[in-house]
């Protein structure tokens, strides 16, 4: 769940107002597209959710953690309730598919027994069974992004946030990936997806939040990019 109230984010270094007076609520179990032109502040909004940046003013609450005041040492606990997916996959190049996913469980101290049953289950869920031993470089872009989604999912987060996860994929792979995220959402995980792709958004009838120049300009529960 995400709650934002009158959020403003100013980057001091570039003297940019990236977000201004943004208020929104995302309930548990929702599937939300976040759209808007380049430089409008979408990534900034995602970073406020993951705790990579803090709001200049206003309130940001994510999965019951107040992101404006959260202590640094509480961040790991908060992040375990989130799964994050990036445009460029961010896999560890010298680890195979299995280890890339298992790694996420190891670093939060999960017992080996649990890792051995959970990882194959998640890899099957994202359609990567049989690819366990491949290295990231031996996979297609779509497959690599599935590994990233498996990694984001493996610790059973309450919410998955994905910043342009289909940015490097062709339309067919993009659609497949969106369908996978929809499936994950139907299993109970909240999903927030940033995207540029109009057709993709319009192919689903989901809630769409639009931001432009740092301000929220639209929030339609029945889909449609820019109200189209």
């Amino acid at each position: 769940m995400v709650l934002m109230k009158n959020v403003r984010k100013v980057y001091e270094s570039s003297n940019t107002v990236a977000l201004d007076n943004v208020s929104l609520t995302i309930e548990d179990g929702e599937f939300v597209f976040l759209v808007g032109p380049s430089g409008s502040g979408k990534t900034t909004l995602m970073k406020l959710i993951t705790g990579e940046v803090r709001p200049t003013s206003g309130k940001v609450v994510v999965n019951d953690f107040d992101m404006g005041t959260i202590k640094r040492r509480k961040l790991p606990k908060m992040r375990r309730t989130l799964g994050v997916v990036f445009q460029d996959y961010r896999l560890i190049e010298n680890m195979n598919v299995y280890d890339n996913v298992a790694f996420a469980m190891r670093v939060v101290g999960a017992p080996n027994r649990e890792i051995r049953t959970r990882v194959p289950y998640i890899l099957e869920l994202v359609g990567l069974d049989g690819r366990e031993k491949r290295m990231p470089g031996e996979l297609s872009g779509g497959e690599q992004q599935r590994v990233a989604i498996a990694r984001a999912l493996v610790n059973s987060p309450r919410m998955i946030v994905a910043d342009e996860p289909t940015g490097n994929l062709d339309p067919v792979r993009s659609l497949e990936l969106m369908l996978l995220l929809e499936k994950i959402n139907e299993m109970g995980t909240t999903v927030v997806v940033v995207t540029h792709e109009k057709e993709l958004v319009n192919a689903f009838s989901k809630r769409v939040i639009t931001i432009d120049s740092g301000e929220k300009t639209g929030d339609s529960s029945e889909g449609g990019y820019y109200g189209v």
């Binding site: 993951t50 990579e52 040492r73 961040l75 790991p76 606990k77 908060m78 992040r79 375990r80 989130l82 994050v84 961010r90 560890i92 010298n94 790694f103 996420a104 190891r106 670093v107 939060v108 101290g109 990694r151 984001a152 610790n155």
Partner: protein, 292 residues
């Protein structure tokens, strides 16, 4: 947190980042050998100067009133009671005359009685820097007639020694700084390729201490390796160089410190520096990546 995971991670990263690990160890080894060699050289020069200093002796002449040899010998205790005196050797007037005659043509001395010579002590000092004070103290002893000391000579030696000490100190301090700089930069470079990995760990909710620990294990392992290799190399190098010197013509005059006399200290210092650099260098290098 499980120990097995940490140790496995630490060593996995050493093997998967083989070249950077190799570079780190190589730089640590090179810096330690340079530092160690300069230190050993300085220590040897110090010993050499001490040696030369020791040949610089003071002669204490015993007063005529103590012409009896036993009474003169009694002064030994008073002389040795002075702090700066390392040894005092009694030379009777008879021995003094024989020494003198053996140096010169004995025929010149014919008819000269040993009474012309005085009983004396040959005195060596702990530190010739305090020669003039010691000379005054010696003169104050009852029964001492005269003290012969080469004060100028002593002063020159003290100057040389001070210069050598100062130069080697400055050199070592500079080397320590430069080495730390080079070593920590090498480690920074070595961990640069890992920032993605660290960012991913942070994103999935790993704690900082969890992320740091494999780097500590790795730093410890690389540090120990570097320290040990540097020690063995220094050992070989030292024995090679000093062996050559001793076998050369000038070598017979030189008195080099045997390696075993400094081996333990050198080993401890090498290990301490390299482990410190390895562990703190590693932790410090990733500090910035942990801030996300």
């Amino acid at each position: 947190m499980r120990l097995g995971y940490l140790i496995r991670e630490g060593f996995r990263s050493i093997t998967t980042h083989g070249f950077m690990s190799f570079a780190t160890v190589a730089i640590i080894v090179a810096c330690l050998i340079i530092m160690g060699s300069v230190s050993l050289l300085a220590m040897n020069i110090d010993v050499l100067i001490k040696d030369l200093e020791n040949q610089n002796e003071i002669v204490v002449f015993v007063d005529e009133s103590l012409s009896d040899e036993a009474a003169a010998r009694d002064l030994q205790r008073n002389i040795e009671a002075i702090d700066n005196v390392s040894s005092a050797q009694f030379v009777s007037r008879g021995e003094a005359m024989n020494n003198f005659m053996s140096k010169y043509d004995a025929t010149l001395m014919e008819g000269i009685d040993e009474d012309v010579f005085r009983h004396r002590f040959i005195v060596h000092l702990n530190d010739i820097a305090y020669m003039s004070q010691t000379k005054t103290e010696l003169e104050a002893i009852r029964g001492v007639a005269k003290v012969n000391a080469h004060l100028d000579y002593a002063k020159n030696f003290v100057t040389i020694r001070n210069v050598v000490t100062a130069v080697s100190m400055v050199l070592i301090v500079m080397l320590v700084f430069v080495s730390f700089f080079i070593m920590s930069n090498t480690i920074k470079l070595a961990t640069f390729g890992r920032r993605e990995e660290i960012a991913i760990m942070k994103m999935v909710g790993a704690t900082n201490s969890f992320i740091r620990l494999p780097f500590v294990v790795e730093g410890l392992a690389l540090g120990m390796m570097g320290g040990a290799i540097a020690f063995l190399a220094e050992w070989g190098l030292y024995n090679l160089v000093t062996g050559r010197l001793v076998n050369s013509a000038a070598g017979t005059l030189l008195n080099v410190i045997p390696f075993r006399n400094v081996a333990l200290e050198l080993f401890v210092v090498f290990m301490a520096i390299s482990i410190l650099v390895g562990v703190f260098g590693g932790v410090n290098a990733i500090r910035n990546y942990l801030k996300v």
